[in-house]
């Protein structure tokens, strides 16, 4: 699968951090060697982009399963795997195995479990896991309730220069909630938690990150109150970053009607007001990363009463198309869309990819941003079709994908 000879993708619209320009991208030995107007060399293999976008492959920060067909469909060439596996990624050997599991045509960056068994109390061997290939540390699906444990974790992570990925929901308030407190949860009679559970958790984590000097990444920030805290932490110059998945900028808790378990997510869907706050935060730069949260769940987890169903959505295939709706709605421009999808997550993970520039890995996607298609939960390439966007018409599709300079069959 090693790239055999240099090749050039020509005749495209190249997406770089500074903007979009007509041109070509040349790749040698699995890396980008030149970007420009006519970077075309005799003897190169030539791929014609036919006027479509030439974009960096997506770097998906925080997925729960390695689901290669779905990632490739969605233009994702690297994913950071959450430690919530069975068994959890709390041991160097498991991290090493996970780091190799997608190669060569997909790279997995394991995220080490912060605590042994993700129990929230005993620190795991994160330094050994870092040597085994872990690119970050995560608290998992849950928040660490014990502030003492969290502070020691952040201090340790700061020393290792690993980013700590947290799930921001105060455990005491969240309890076993399946929805955000409000009219919808009340009408449906679902166990619910106030939206303040998020801001409360974020406030503590930011305070401890400031005290320890650690890099903190809040994997999903979904409420106005939480986003406000992130905004002010950034203004104070802290290394705090925030992510979100398309569910929280595309849907509100109205999607819970009829007890659709594909809309059972963690954190739960929020009010329309919070959805608007998320869109605003993507627009003003408070949110740094959009990820899929890919978590394919079959009928045994989803064909259940709402509160009994497992949270999570299969998001890899729809990540790009949903993010492009923000471009069409003029919330962000294309260059920023790929900052959110590729460049920022790659930086957080410290990997040499995620943007089109000489020297970076040749992880490239040719994208037709207008191509229309309809999301269909029955026809997904993912391991399971639990998408909350079922039947939704969308635009934007990957037509060709390259990992390390090698074209992948789609």
């Amino acid at each position: 699968m090693k790239q055999l000879r240099p090749f050039t993708i020509k005749n495209g619209l190249v997406v770089t951090p500074s903007g979009i320009a007509e041109g070509a991208v040349r790749c040698e030995d699995g890396a980008i060697s030149a970007v420009g107007q006519s970077a075309w060399y005799d003897g190169d293999e030539v791929v014609d982009a036919r006027g479509k976008l030439i974009a960096p492959g997506l770097v998906d920060l925080g997925v729960f399963a390695i689901d290669k067909p779905a990632f490739h469909f969605g233009g994702i060439t690297r994913a950071a795997l959450m430690p919530d596996q069975s068994p959890p990624l709390d041991h160097p050997a498991r991290v090493r195995f996970a780091a190799q599991s997608g190669k060569p045509d997909f790279w997995v960056h394991p995220i080490a479990a912060a605590t042994a068994g993700l129990d929230g109390t005993h620190l795991a061997e994160v330094a050994l896991m870092q040597d085994a290939g872990a690119r970050a540390i995560a608290t998992g699906r849950k928040w660490i309730g014990d502030s003492g444990v969290m502070l020691r974790l952040l201090q340790y992570a700061a020393m290792l220069d690993l980013v700590v990925v947290t799930h921001a929901e105060d455990a005491g308030l969240a309890g076993n909630a399946a929805a955000t407190a409000g009219e919808m949860a009340t009408r449906l009679g679902l166990p619910s938690a106030p939206k303040e559970a998020e801001a409360l958790a974020i406030a503590r984590d930011i305070a401890l990150a400031e005290a320890s000097g650690a890099r903190l990444h809040l994997r999903q920030v979904t409420t106005r109150g939480g986003l406000e805290l992130v905004r002010s932490a950034k203004a104070r110059g802290l290394s705090v970053t925030a992510g979100v998945t398309p569910a929280h900028f595309m849907l509100s808790d109205l999607a819970l009607g009829d007890y659709r378990t594909f809309a059972r997510l963690s954190p739960p869907l929020r009010s329309e007001e919070d959805r608007q706050a998320v869109i605003e935060a993507v627009g003003d730069g408070t949110i740094d990363v959009i990820s899929s949260g890919h978590d394919p769940r079959g009928p045994e987890d989803k064909r259940l009463p709402f509160a009994d169903a497992a949270p999570g959505m299969a998001g890899a295939e729809t990540l790009l198309a949903m993010t492009l709706t923000l471009v069409r709605d003029e919330v962000i421009d294309l260059a920023r869309a790929f900052d959110l999808l590729s460049r920022n997550p790659a930086r957080l993970l410290g990997v040499n990819a995620g943007e089109i520039a000489p020297g970076k890995e040749a992880d490239l996607a040719i994208i037709d941003p207008e191509a229309p298609w309809i999301v269909d939960s029955a026809k997904m390439t993912a391991q399971a079709g639990n998408t909350p966007f079922d039947r939704q018409p969308v635009q934007g599709r990957v037509t060709k994908l390259f990992k390390g300079g090698t074209q992948i069959d789609l």
């Binding site: 309890g175 076993n176 407190a181 409000g182 009219e183 919808m184 949860a185 009340t186 009408r187 449906l188 009679g189 679902l190 166990p191 619910s192 106030p194 009829d258 007890y259 009928p299 045994e300 064909r303 259940l304 009463p305 709402f306 509160a307 009994d308």
Partner: protein, 343 residues
């Protein structure tokens, strides 16, 4: 959705078409006002029927009704069983709380199993909101919701409406709905499916609804259901025509919601003194089971002229007979009920 030709111009039952076009009875929220009134009118005939010495009909003879209760119940299960038997149906009770469900069978598999046994109606109680609707989507016969989690308990709201109507009629008020009436519902609103169904049903029938609970037992956003929300019982009682008390659902509480039952009684117990704040002759209701001395005092619960708590139980059988009768009409090929789509 009700098809347009079935919607009457003015609260009256539609001419011609089926007055109740639903296959299932899952939620009051699915029903139109005239559909609620229709079920109440149908139930009235069974009230008189149930007061006869010989109370057996063969109306549902040959039909099999399964009562599948995934949550413990005494009165509701008994009420449905009596209703089915009085109509001549073969009634089978499945106590799912101690059955294969405990062996790991999924709810959907249980539903498919019940369906394969060719029941003609299934009555379901389940501890999760939405579970009854989920089962209904997987079976081919009418499904009646006997309570799903904290969502709805539609036959309870219907029997409450019928008991209230009967009491009002006894007092000489012959209106068919509750326009002008103020009803206060007090107690554990958060965990109560009875409260949710009653709010929707009473509102559909024209009543003004007040709810009263300490903040921890009041669902957030409930004011959006266009009701008055109170935390002080005295305010909620002022001038109320009907007071409906709910018990503390300790079995649904995840953590501590109030300091103690004693303190709950201090703030929210319906005592004779408190009842005096309501309208003169205000009617007292309780869906049962009561915790005497907590949310309601014995001398209030047993006030013969005011309390309709035992009448509620009686009306329960009539409402369930009417519901089973109406929902099985298509199966029984009753003239005028065979055509058209279920909604």
């Amino acid at each position: 959705m009700t098809s347009t030709h079935n919607i009457p111009a003015s609260g009256r039952f539609p001419a011609g078409g089926r007055a109740f076009p639903h296959r299932d009875l899952i939620a009051i929220g699915d029903l139109e006002r005239h559909e609620i009134l229709y079920l109440l009118a149908e139930a009235e005939q069974y009230v008189a029927f149930n007061r006869q010495a010989s109370k057996h009909s063969d109306r549902l003879a040959g039909l099999t009704i399964i009562n599948a209760f995934f949550e413990n119940s005494t009165r509701t299960l008994l009420s449905f069983e009596i209703a089915g038997k009085r109509l001549g149906a073969d009634v089978v009770n499945m106590h799912a709380a101690q059955s294969s469900v405990k062996k790991g069978e999924t709810l959907i598999d249980t539903a498919v199993t019940l369906n394969a046994m060719r029941a003609d109606a299934i009555v379901i109680r389940h501890g999760s909101s939405g579970a009854v609707g989920l089962i209904a989507s997987k079976v081919d016969c009418p499904v009646l919701n006997a309570g799903d989690g904290q969502h709805e308990h539609p036959t309870q709201a219907l029997l409450d409406a019928l008991a209230l109507r009967m009491k009002l009629r006894e007092r000489g008020h012959d209106a068919e709905d509750f326009t002008g009436l103020t009803v206060t519902i007090c107690g554990d609103i958060l965990h109560s499916r009875v409260a949710r169904s009653n709010i929707l049903s009473l509102q559909a029938l024209g009543a003004t609804v007040r709810v009263c609970a300490p903040p921890a037992l009041m669902p957030s956003g409930i004011a959006r259901m266009e009701i008055e929300v109170h935390h002080r019982f005295d305010d909620a009682l002022a001038g109320a025509d009907v007071v409906m008390m709910l018990r503390l659902q300790n079995e649904r509480m995840d953590g501590q919601f109030i300091p103690s039952p004693r303190e709950f009684r201090h703030l929210y117990g319906l005592t004779t003194e408190r009842l005096a704040l309501a309208a003169p002759d205000a009617i007292v209701m309780h869906p049962g089971p009561m915790n005497r001395g907590v949310e309601i005092d014995s001398d209030v619960a047993d006030l013969e002229s005011r309390s309709i708590i035992t009448s509620q139980v009686e009306m329960g059988v009539a409402i369930r007979m009417a519901s089973l009768d109406v929902l099985t009409r298509k199966t029984r090929q009753i003239s005028g009920w065979g055509e058209g789509e279920w909604v």
